[in-house]
């Protein structure tokens, strides 16, 4: 394992020494990692910061908190600072209060005596602290598990329906010859270009008439047939040799069996891609659920996250933590499904 990792990280284009293109490649890749992964890493680290640490300037990368000490005679724990004294020595003092540019400090070992120090002579003593309550509070107080479940139901059900409906349409459009096929194909490609915002109002009316408002079906059904998915699967199915389908026909297979037993297994790479797309679309979908889901108990995660963003105040610490929770399932789905996005095997049974 470590050997493989070493190989991965130190691979060169060949030859004994480093060529300038090796260096350039690594520099480019490092930049890519920074651009792609940097924001995610920062998000994950920041999700463990306290609200105060989040607003700190200059910002720190790691979640840090100022150390505090309890000093006898003071009811509250006092923040700890490292102070450079006038004689040049450095002492750790707790701050009692700050008045203008002067801070009134106390040595925790000699609580009776207060020391006045210019405010710019002290720096806070900090230690790494994970604000786990960013995660635990929303999960317990805000009923985040319900939103998570809603999102899961919408994503899983919608993805399953999408895969079934789209693959059936793609099968018809790739395998059969019928009158109006090119018109249907044109319709599919044409609707590819219409964004949801354009058809929001008419679709909303349809959903209202069907009585779906405030049920998860309102989110699941309208987007189930995606032109992108039909197009993607059709193009892939066109690459499956016709002989295979004809061989199945000669083998007395019904059209349903050809679809289920021959075409679907051979379309796995395209189905995996569409599944990943569908999961990402549904999991992150915001505008449409916001329009049709008005009751809190049917909210999905993106809408629930929106609740942390008030008109006057945004609870960044909760927002960041829950964004991390939201990201995890999609990352897991991708890690699982990307194994199937390999080159197809449809041609390996042929001459």
């Amino acid at each position: 394992m470590t050997g493989k990792l070493r190989h991965l990280l130190l691979a060169r284009r060949g030859g004994a020494s480093w060529h300038w293109t090796d260096v350039a490649s690594y520099a480019y890749l490092a930049l890519g990692v920074l651009l792609m992964f940097g924001p995610v890493a920062w998000l994950a680290l920041s999700s463990f910061k306290t609200p105060a640490a989040l607003l700190e300037f200059p910002p720190s990368l790691l979640p840090m908190a100022q150390s505090e000490v309890s000093v006898p005679g003071y009811p509250q724990p006092l923040p700890l600072f490292r102070v450079t004294m006038e004689d040049g020595s450095v002492r750790e003092l707790a701050q009692v209060r700050r008045v203008g540019i002067v801070a009134q400090m106390v040595d925790p070992k000699e609580p009776a005596q207060t020391i006045r120090v210019p405010a710019d002579r002290r720096t806070p003593v900090r230690h790494m602290a994970l604000a786990v309550e960013n995660y635990t509070d929303p999960l317990t107080q805000f009923d985040f598990l319900r939103f998570l479940r809603n999102s899961l139901v919408v994503t899983v059900v919608a993805t399953v329906i999408t895969l079934i409906i789209n693959s059936m349409a793609a099968y018809a459009l790739s395998v059969y010859e019928f009158r109006g096929k090119s018109v249907a194909m044109l319709g599919v490609i044409g609707t590819l270009m219409i964004p949801i915002t354009i058809v929001l109002a008419p679709v909303y009316l349809v959903v209202t008439k069907l009585g779906f408002v405030d049920s998860l079906w309102a989110v699941i059904l309208p987007g189930a047939a995606t032109p992108t998915g039909v197009f993607l699967l059709r193009q892939y199915m066109l690459t499956i040799p016709r002989d295979l389908i004809e061989a199945a026909r000669m083998d007395k297979a019904s059209e349903w069996r050809i679809y289920a037993r021959i075409v679907m297994p051979l379309s796995m790479p395209a189905l995996a891609v569409l599944a990943i797309f569908s999961v990402m679309w549904r999991w992150n979908e915001f505008l449409w659920p916001l329009a049709v889901l008005t009751k809190t108990e049917v909210h999905t995660l993106p809408i629930a996250l929106n609740a942390f963003q008030g008109e006057l105040q945004t609870q960044w610490h909760y927002l960041l933590a829950m964004t991390v929770v939201t990201l995890l399932p999609v990352a897991l789905v991708f890690a699982f499904l990307q194994r199937f996005i390999t080159s197809g095997i449809a041609n390996t049974g042929m001459k």
Binding site: D243, M250, D251, A253, G349, K351
Partner: protein, 347 residues
């Protein structure tokens, strides 16, 4: 097992006619080969019989039952594709049992049939492999096995050997002949290779330009070609075709073209010669020799001699045509009767 009857089969793609009226009946248990140059419609005819293509006109009967509009899956035929078309995601066993599952046959019966076919085709050790892990010849046998387990009314083969190398092709050809002798089914076989046609067929159907040129046993076609096309197509090397007036002692008559097979051209003394030709190329095969020569007017003439030859390029050679084996064709390209003596004695 069943017979097949085709009546007036026509197939047009738009304005292009691919099959221009095919009438043919095939008896139960017969091995029939469709042969012809590429684009002659032989594969289309096979697909029409299979039900993978619809006909423009005409009708198809299997065992007397009309099946012209019946779907491919309901005709009870099995087909071996040129590309084999094995299901790549299934094991050999699953490939062979797929059709049986579709037919709703009991599991034990399926296992028994697959087992029997696998033993017959020497595939027993490969049943759990996927097609990708098989060699070309093994894939070919799986494709044949997939047809055998079905116990179909008619076997259809679409150029099944064209993807194999020469040695394997000869071996598989023998196996196919043995298979036909063993299971005795009606088989229809499409090929462009006339050696395959000659060696496998009970009867050969020669197709050209969407029409049947001639139907007959391999030797009938060889000895009594009905027209110039069949004369030129059947036999390797091909029959020599010469204008009648070129050959000494031949009356012009109705025959415009004379045909003589390479083995019936004999070197002879100058005095008895029909023609004197100039040798262009000598192919020494050890047991036999092919001489490629040019007759007057640069008409090519191929001569087959037994044994080995001392002739070299540029030599002049007087040759005589065996009168018993001379084929005569009229200006329209049809064979003139009476037939050559030898052929008549055969029929």
């Amino acid at each position: 097992m069943a017979g097949l009857e085709l009546r007036g089969i026509r197939k047009d793609y738009g304005s292009t006619a691919v099959l221009k009226g095919i009438d043919l009946s095939i008896a139960d248990g017969e091995f029939v080969v469709f042969v012809g140059p590429s684009g002659c419609g032989k594969s289309t005819l096979l697909r029409v019989i299979a039900g993978l293509e619809t006909v423009t006109a005409g009708d198809i009967r299997i065992d007397g039952a009309e099946v012209t509009r019946t779907a491919a899956s309901d005709r009870g035929l099995a087909m071996v594709f040129q590309s084999y078309a094995l299901y790549p995601h299934m094991t050999v066993h699953q490939n062979m049992s797929f059709a049986l599952e579709n037919m709703g046959i009991a599991k034990a019966e399926i296992a028994a049939r697959v087992d029997r076919a696998a033993r017959m085709l020497r595939l027993t050790d490969y049943l759990q492999r996927r097609p990708a892990a098989l060699s070309g010849g093994q894939r070919q046998r799986v494709a044949i096995g997939r047809a055998i387990v079905r116990d179909p009314k008619i076997f259809l083969f679409d150029e099944p050997l064209s993807n194999l190398d020469a040695e394997l092709r000869v071996a598989t050809r023998k196996e196919l002949a043995a298979l036909h002798a063993e299971i005795g089914g009606t088989m229809i076989y499409v090929t462009h290779d006339q050696v395959e046609a000659m060696t496998l067929a009970d009867r050969i159907v020669v197709l050209n330009g969407g029409r049947i040129e001639q139907i007959g046993t391999p030797l009938e076609l060889y000895n009594r070609p009905a027209n110039l096309f069949v004369a030129g197509f059947i036999g390797s090397p091909r029959m020599n075709l010469l204008p009648t007036e070129l050959v000494r002692g031949e009356a012009a008559g109705p025959a415009a073209t004379l045909g003589i097979r390479p083995e019936h051209v004999e070197p002879c003394q100058e005095a008895e010669a029909d023609l004197t030709v100039r040798i262009d190329l000598v192919e020494q095969l050890g047991g036999e020799t092919f001489l490629y020569a040019a007759a007057p007017n640069d008409i090519p003439l191929t001569i087959r001699c037994d044994g080995q030859s001392r002739l070299v390029r540029g030599d002049l050679l007087p040759v005589r045509f065996s009168r018993d084996h001379l084929h005569r064709f009229d200006a329209a390209g049809l064979a003139c009767r009476p037939e050559p003596l030898l052929a008549r004695s055969h029929s």
